[in-house]
């Protein structure tokens, strides 16, 4: 009997490298929320790195082969594939998209991984699972502590919506899926200008100066729009906005003090998951004062 049979919805799960280290609170809170909502989640055994940006930057075939290998491993676990990281999500879906369209590339990749690529395995971002599969109505019903009065800047970044034919998640220039989830759990999404701008992504390693400019613009835009905090769905965006925030403040002289939550942390908080199971203590910019002020802690 499948271990997930007791759940109406259950998924195979690809956490990706960051969720086992710098973004461990995203992993912890994902499991916390899914458990609270009675959604099954089973990690794909022995998954590999998806190759992220560096692989496709210099070697498309390798990048496609790494993702194809992961899809093939995921094929052995029941349920659609739930992905938390926006970059892994984008790479896995790009691979399916390119290989469906191009037989030559598909054959090269099949040779590289020595097996077929499960192009039919559905790859879904957590946002999609919460908003569409589980559904906004049920999510609203699961709320125990609405995020009343919490002004949230929903930040999509690049890869959740672009290029539109790959993620097939929402409108690429005017998405609403994050705002809809936040409204369902009682929060207040703010209107702001930089929800789809790039944070600087993996230049955080090679050229951190890029992050100081791009992520500063995002923080400034959120602050100017009156947001109390930012919500993200990508570990790289989180690293740049949260871990580098103090450095950005020192470089620009502007104080933000802006907690950066993962979507699963905020949904979890609203659905009554214990803060201990949401990894709030791992955030570099502490959310404690803000959450106490809003009576959420």
């Amino acid at each position: 009997m499948s271990p997930n049979r007791k759940f109406a919805l259950s998924y195979s799960y690809y956490p990706g490298c960051s969720l086992h280290a710098s973004a461990k609170e995203y992993d912890v809170s994902t499991k916390g929320v899914f458990n609270a909502l009675r959604i099954g989640l089973k990690e794909v055994p022995d998954w590999f790195c998806c190759g992220a940006t560096p692989a496709h930057n210099v070697d498309e075939l390798l990048s496609l082969a790494l993702c194809a290998k992961n899809l093939s491993l995921a094929g052995k676990v029941e349920g659609d594939l739930a992905v938390a990281c926006a970059a892994c999500f984008s790479r896995l879906k790009t691979t399916q998209h390119r290989l469906k369209e191009n037989d030559i590339k598909r054959k090269q990749v099949e040779t590289a991984i020595d097996g077929p690529v499960p192009l039919g395995k559905k790859v879904k971002h957590l946002l999609e699972i919460l908003a569409k599969d589980f559904g906004l109505d049920k999510l609203e019903g699961a709320v125990q502590k609405p995020l009343t009065g919490l002004k949230i800047a929903c930040y999509y970044g690049c890869l959740l919506t672009r290029p539109p034919e790959v993620p097939e998640l929402d409108d690429c220039e005017a998405p609403t899926i994050m705002e809809n989830v936040i409204k369902a759990v009682g929060g207040e999404p703010v209107a702001w200008s930089h929800r789809l701008e790039c944070c600087g992504a993996n230049f955080t390693l090679s050229r951190p100066g890029v992050i100081l400019k791009l992520s500063n613009e995002i923080l400034a835009s959120a602050k100017d729009a009156g947001a109390d905090c930012i919500m993200v769905a990508c570990p790289l965006c989180h690293g740049n906005l949260d871990i580098r925030q103090e450095e950005i403040e020192q470089a620009t002289g502007r104080r933000y003090g802006m907690p950066v939550f993962y979507i699963t942390q905020l949904v979890g908080l609203a659905c009554g998951v214990s803060p201990l199971r949401l990894g709030l203590e791992s955030m570099i910019v502490s959310p404690a004062a803000l959450l106490r002020e809003k009576n959420l802690l």
Binding site: C17, S18, H20, A21, S22, A23, K24, D46, W47, F48, C49, G51, A52, T53, P54, A55, H56, N57, V58, D59, E60, L61, L62, A65, L66, K69, R98, N102, Q108, T111, A112, I113, D114, C158, L159, R162, P163, P164, C172, E173, E197, C198, G200, A201, N202, F203, L205, S206, R207, P208, V210, K213, L214, I243, R244, E247, E281, S282, M283, I284
Partner: protein
């Protein structure tokens, strides 16, 4: 130089290189009509010596050596804004990938070494461990780039938060990744893959 004329012909345009880029990227280079929308939306524009639309124009005019020697292609963040908004369906993000691959394979001259170093270490990590170990990646990058003090203040902060781990859950099947790398190398040797 005032009266120097630029001669355009199929020879000077070096269509061979353009076709190589088109084959690798799966996108047309020649279809670009220089509206400039890609550059208008590019978040990395201010870090590049050639804005994205000019890169395409240089390719169209056979000036690819200038493109590969510059730093612009390495400063593309792969945010996909250009490809999403192009009115003529030029997939510039894919063209950038193709240009980087051509420059990478040729080990050609480029002004941007840090991004290439980071990419190389990232790929070596995958080949050795099957996964990315961020702490190792950052430490080796600092050593090899000679920036021993880079992000020194971040280290302790991340370690106290448990965000940098010395030990990771290991992939038990890491030999499989080496086989993928070698099969690809094998295909390339035989000329069966780009």
């Amino acid at each position: 130089m005032k009266n120097a004329k630029m001669h355009l012909s199929t020879e000077t345009m070096n269509l061979g290189f353009v076709k190589k880029v088109e084959a690798l990227s799966g996108s047309s280079v020649r279809r670009c009509f220089q509206c400039g929308k890609c550059s208008a939306g590019c978040p990395m524009r201010s870090f590049m010596e050639h804005p994205p639309n000019r890169i395409v124009r240089l390719l169209q005019l056979g000036q690819w050596e200038r493109v590969l020697a510059g730093r612009s292609i390495w400063y593309c963040a792969s945010c996909e804004t250009c490809s999403t908004r192009c009115p003529n369906k030029v997939d510039l993000a894919a063209i950038m990938d193709a240009l980087r691959k051509l420059s990478w394979d040729a080990a050609g001259p480029s002004k941007e070494s840090y991004v290439q170093l980071a990419n190389r270490l990232f790929m070596e990590n995958i080949r050795t461990y099957g996964r990315q170990y961020e702490m190792r990646l950052a430490a080796v990058f600092n050593m090899k780039s000679g920036q021993f003090l880079k992000d020194l203040m971040l280290g302790p902060k991340l370690i106290t938060k448990g965000k940098l781990k010395m030990f990771h859950a290991k992939n038990q099947n890491v030999g499989e990744i080496e086989r993928i790398f070698s099969r690809i190398e094998e295909m390339r040797k035989k000329g069966e893959a780009p």
